[in-house]
Symmetry: C2
Subunit: 513 residues, 2 copies
């Protein structure tokens, strides 16, 4: 389709001046309205080399209030970024509510420039497209406006521009070998771009192709496109608000839900002697595994959820006590702070995802979305229902990158919880652990049980399973957590080594031929 | 997640009787309402062997008006079906508006049973999942309610049931070797099912897991699930109707659209001598290629669109004149008939998709959705906007199956059209070709041009390109169509042969080791 676009479009000076003025004014007003309405906006500039991305970004921001936007240039990834899935660097840069983030090149590099410049045999291209689609869908579902602009020029025009840049001392550094290669093999590079546009042109994040032979025409079209999209988003937001007011509490309760917790045998236990022996052995094994993980660059994500007083803290303590503190991090999850509240709910967890070779332990997790936020009404019904898939996508993203992802539900019954609550109140050293809120939550036990059952069924996946830990016996629970982690790491390490061996073998074979 | 489900749930006789009666009555009423509202419904039964699909389908249909549903049992595919993409057989069976289609096993076999029973190395598993997702999304967007039930029992329960069946003469034929294999390797089969549920559990077509140890409990849950989903669909339809009445004509016109037609050079032409020579050579090449296509089982889809009197008929005639009529079919596309009107708009085209090795030529196509239906308001704005993606998905589905897909736009200018219209009116042999409607359409030239531009940009893809044919000279146009087809077929044949050679080589290599 790109080769079909009529690139001869031009603007005359008069129209240009007039459109830039009226649309610029309109855009400034819309930016203020979006800020008031708390709408985050992402504007992506992609396109052919020398199509004028820099110039156009500059022209666009002339119309904007500089306190309301940030521009991110996408250079090669740094060390921190290379040790995480490719979208991680963009998750950390998503705009807060009411702000605009402008990207000079973006998450599309991996399926576009990188794919052409340095083809990576191991790249799972379809997987990368899926990751991009789910990234944009999640943000868009959360209310982010995503505007994607593709600046297009012809082979001849590009050649002319490269030559002009090359001929001047000040600008010749801006054209490199790769640029020329992309010009020489323009048709095959165009095909890659074409495929990218095909696969990622969605209703929620459509591409707009900007004919960029004439920069004035391009500038007009960009300004108008951005303004139109913001206007539409504001209109949709107003309509949605009215709609949701009507719909509230129309939904009927769900009957016949699948159960999990009802089948758990809480009588399992260990004696103190068994416990000490097992604990000791497992902790030593884990210590050794930790070194191997680091060497093999395997990231590990461990999430802990469970009833209040279920024993999360104790289990985490036994898990980490023999580990090198430089190789793991425990992330306690409290209620979101003000900064966190104005971002996508997964943003703060993305920020804490482990680097390759490191372990991240989450004491309470992103599952708050489908438990406390669901029950207390901190998010809408549509939001928590959507969250199951969003969470699965995030975890599969980590798993595809090679991470071990495990989630533990520390399960106790209501009587055991009461016993522990009372014990805490009577023990001065533990009193800080118990609050009025804990007692209030306890009254909602049945609601929580329903939510937890649904969560376990919907988000226990082959790549990121839930482990329900029988927790009435703390000894039993701690050992089960440790053993599960140890066995999962051993399996993963075996798998990675086997794969490496296979690759070495393949390389050897190729050399031998 | 499947291994976590508590399968011990039971119904007592009293509750069972009562629920079946009240829910059965409710369901019958909802079926009538859905019929009146024109809502198509698909109910899919999947699950573990001997979980009781047959029994449960039987119980469900007790509550339904038999004139309103059909049950399809999914057996091995027949010859007709094996020569087309795997979803073809289901596209041809989608329910008309107001009807219910019940599937005993379904399009999920390919990613479930088949995957376990006879693993196919060449199966693109991710591709199959994507095809399933887009199939369900398209139907759901069109208003179809998709209810997917997964009947679940444990390994032990399954074994018990197989044994019981095996022990009786009347039923022993129902348990075969594969069934026992699936029981023996229950865990790995469960994992395949688990992955299937994970990848295809969507908001628009969610899975419901039915605990089937106790058949009464299962029946209650199924009846209630189906009734709840129908009630929700009716409610949503009512809400959507109100919403769309409000929104009508709120959308603003799109400015700065990408153009294609404006850049086309219509002065291209051929002399009669050039034409005859080229035509003759190309037709002979095509004749030979047709045999090769057949031998290599390559399906070919050729779509023709263009201005009225643009020369579609003449081009198709020259294309087919040397072809073996058993190997191609020309499908003229008129306004949809009554049967077609109550199905998804792509249904009638799916019905006419070519078998492997055959050529299907469409004189006017599925693109009517984004041209005449858009302009005359025969479908809603949301519908034609969504259609670009739906059409791309259908074409990519064919292309993934190995088809050559080409679309021709026969382009003439307004003056040339007028000349041809007048010629037709004056020539008694051609008068039938021109109607008042043609003159009326001509008045909407600018609207059509805008729609065509958008269509060409949005649906010309790497796997199914649009070819804009400069049509003022009929000679030039016919030769360009023929040449394009010949070259595309030659390229495809070369690709397929290369691939076959590669596979032979690989097999040989494996034998040699």
């Amino acid at each position: 389709m790109l080769e079909k676009i009529d690139l001869s479009k031009k603007a005359d000076k008069e129209t240009f001046k007039q459109v830039m003025e009226t649309e610029g004014g309109r855009l400034a007003g819309l930016q203020r309205e979006c800020k008031a309405a708390g709408i985050p906006v992402m504007i992506v500039f992609e396109g052919m080399g020398a199509a004028g991305k820099g110039v156009q970004i500059n022209r666009l921001i002339q119309a904007l209030d500089p306190r309301g936007f940030s521009v991110f240039a996408t250079n090669s990834s740094n060390e921190e970024e290379r040790m995480r899935p490719f979208l991680w660097r963009y998750w950390t840069k998503i705009p807060a509510k009411g702000r605009i983030a402008i990207f000079d090149r973006s998450w599309y590099s991996i399926v576009q420039r990188d794919r052409f410049d340095c083809p990576d045999e191991n790249l799972d291209l379809e997987g990368a497209f899926q990751d991009i689609l789910s990234f944009e869908k999640q943000l868009s579902d959360d209310g982010t406006v995503i505007i994607k602009l593709f600046l297009h020029i012809s082979k001849e025009e590009q050649k002319k521009r490269f030559k002009k840049l090359d001929n001047s001392k000040e600008t010749s550094w801006r054209v490199n070998k790769q640029d020329w290669k992309r010009n020489k093999e323009y048709d095959s590079y165009l095909k890659i771009n074409e495929e990218m546009l095909e696969k990622t042109d969605t209703e929620y994040a459509p591409w707009t192709i900007i004919e960029s032979t004439d920069k004035d025409y391009g500038a007009m079209k960009i300004l108008t496109t951005v303004a139109d999209r913001l206007a539409l988003a504001l209109e949709n937001k107003r309509a949605a608000r009215k709609e949701s007011e009507k719909k509230q509490n129309q939904a009927s309760a769900k009957r016949f839900q699948n159960g999990v917790l009802s089948g758990i045998d809480l009588s399992k236990s260990l004696t103190k002697e068994q416990y000490k022996k097992e604990l000791d052995g497992l902790q030593k094994r884990l210590e050794n595994l930790h070194n191997e993980l680091y060497r093999l660059r395997i990231p590990v994500v461990l999430g802990f959820e469970g009833w209040d007083a279920g024993g999360k803290g104790g289990a985490i303590k036994r898990l980490t006590s023999h580990l090198d503190p430089r190789g793991y991090q425990v992330n306690p999850t409290a209620s979101p702070n003000d900064i966190e509240k104005v971002h996508h709910y997964l943003w703060r967890f993305w920020n804490n995802m482990p680097k390759a070779g490191h372990i991240a332990i989450f004491d309470r997790t992103w599952y708050g979305r489908v438990m406390v936020e669901r029950i207390e009404g901190f998010c809408s019904e549509a939001e928590w229902k959507r969250a199951y898939q969003e969470i699965n996508e995030m975890e599969s993203h980590m798993a595809n990158y090679g991470a071990v992802v495990l989630k533990f539900w520390l399960h106790i019954d209501k009587d055991e919880q009461e016993r522990r609550f009372k014990e805490r109140m009577e023990n001065p050293a533990k009193q800080w652990k118990i609050t009025d809120e804990d007692w209030r939550n306890r009254e909602k036990w049945d609601l929580y049980e329903q939510a937890v059952d649904e969560m376990l069924v919907r988000t226990s996946t082959t790549y990121a399973p839930w482990i329900v830990v029988e927790g009435n016996s703390k000894y039993y629970a701690r050992v089960k957590v440790l053993r599960t982690v140890v066995e999962a790491l051993e399996a993963k390490i075996k798998e990675v080594k086997k794969q490496q061996k296979h690759e070495r073998f393949k390389r050897q074979e190729e050399t031998d031929r």
